[in-house]
Amino acid sequence: MSINRRNFFKTVGVAGLTLTGLESLGSPAEAARENDTEFYGFLYDSTICIGCRACEKACAKAHGFPEPEDDAEVGVVRKTSITQRSVINKYETSQGEMLVRHACMHCNEPACASACLTQAMYKTKEGPVIWRADKCMGCRYCMISCPFDVPKFDFQSSNPIIQKCDMCFDRVQNGEIPVCAETCGDALFFGTRRELIAEAHRRISESPDSYIPQIFGEKTAGGTSSLYLSPVPFDEVGLNTKVSNESYPAKTKGFLYSVPSVFILLPSLLLGMHEATKSKQPKNHEND
């Protein structure tokens, strides 16, 4: 493959912007390099959002959920649920009341997908993290692992589902943009993650008084596809700032990498010990 200028920048973009070693991720990164697909994502500018909740309603309509009726109120944390993939909440912040949208962050290296033992939770090469009903066994380990508490389980059903935003994966595959971003004109943008991060940095540098100089999601949890701009510290608008910048699957890497060594070394050691202690023993107590 000859590397022209454009491809070079793309490669650097993917590698650089995702920040943590994508090599360690395995399939998504390799897939991305192979056919040049970049992760898509959202950029959400909370200084522009007026909280009209058109995105929420469009999401409900597109996925066949009842239209959310409860209003966003200060002090009430509405949560995504089994019939709601995105919510807008109202917060009292140091710069007055703000309305902020929450949905799946679509991490570059999702904890949920690495936790899933059946690959039901899956990071697609386009960026959306999707859930596949035919593979899921309903163990809810994704819910234990997700630092943003995104996956929601249907506890009332005998054939339950996991509900979460899938970035309208069927639309993305057809070259369309997700319904929420399509509905929202000004505050929620859809594009490749690389473009969105460049755009976010441009906004911060052009009007530094309007934003805190960080993008939530650029480094959070090893980088996410959902990116947030905010005029106030992120924890004031309900974003979980306790989440580390390290990718979550990396936390189990040490343990998982030690498994093959233990599997080779320990049996050899045990067999050696068995041989070493063997001879002195009376025969009748051996091997039963």
């Binding site: 649920s81 389980f153 005998s158 343990f255 107590h285 039963d288």
Partner: protein, 408 residues
Amino acid sequence: MTSPAYPITTEKKEKTIWKFLIEELKPRGKWLTPFNIISLPVMLAGLVLIVYRFTDGLGAVSNVNQEIPWGLWKGFNVVTGVAFAGGAYVLTFMVYILKMDKYHSIVRVTVLNGFLAYMFYAGALVLDLGKPWNIFNPIIGNNFGASSVLFLVAWHFMLYIFAQLIEFSPAVAEWLGARTARKILAGMTIGAVIFGITLSTLHQSGLGALFLMASEKIHPLWYNEFLPILFLVSSVFAGLSMVIFQGSITNKVFADQLAKDHRENDHGIIHGLARVCAGALFAYLFMQIIVFIHGQHWALLNTPMGYWWLFEIIGFVVVPLFLFLYSYRNFNITMIKVASIIAIVGIILNRLNVSIIAFRWDAAVHYVPSWMEIVITAAIIFTQIWIFRWVIHRMPVLRESPEWARDH
């Protein structure tokens, strides 16, 4: 001591194997024992609730919620129960690898306990799964979630059940009077033991590794990167304490079954295990202290969760450690049994703390198990004891192997 449970071979040859099996399946002895009177209604109620759980969904019987998605069945039956079943791998290590012959007479009963425990935890796991009909997805097909710790744990559970079955199979062969089979199966024991110890090392620690990604969800006094090692080390004294505790009950209940050398060695066995427990507890305490100091969580000690942590560490690690040491020095068997009970309670506390109590300790709605979850948990344990009792009465587990099997 020829037990009526073991028919002598000439008699058996006249019957067909099926008649023999049907005969063996029939219950023996008195029906109206206090244990039966308590356990039967609980098991029946559990059965009804299990049907209800599958028709109306998990939420119908369980209090688990979106923030705390794993409740009693995972936190107690699986995460805690597996630690208690750790006695099997520790004892097979001591007897088959280190050749500590003293403990040979309790290997079979411990492996049987371990095997049944794993079978029933797998059962509890199936109850807890939302879509249990997909349980074979990680085993067959192209659905290998190989980056998942749970994938490793699931495979290891399955493989370890097979390993334990092989370890126990000579007893089954002796029961059935299958001499050739016994010889073959006994020859596989050492392989199964080595495989089983390796699997146990990895999945005992794997249960701790399950929670590594929940780094902000578990209270910092319980969460650390060393969870896998802490889980592994604590499984040693958890398993052996359970061996001491269960042994003190089974030796009374099944006194007529006890082999002679088992009865004579009983105190020596308990005494020896106490020392191993003390050693493992010391290592565990030492690691907990190092992890605590490196975590720099001094300020957290003076909070309600801090007191709760100190309660666990001092009351259920330091205290049993000293009790084991003291009673070992003074050869006080009763106190060793008390120490093992305290250590068992401590392990329940620790595993429930990591998986349930300190998990989302800051959540608005705390998880408290419903009475239905508790009934089902109790029903699972009772069923396990029923099967254990059935096997003990029929197979040479506590009693000596039949004459023909001894010289092989």
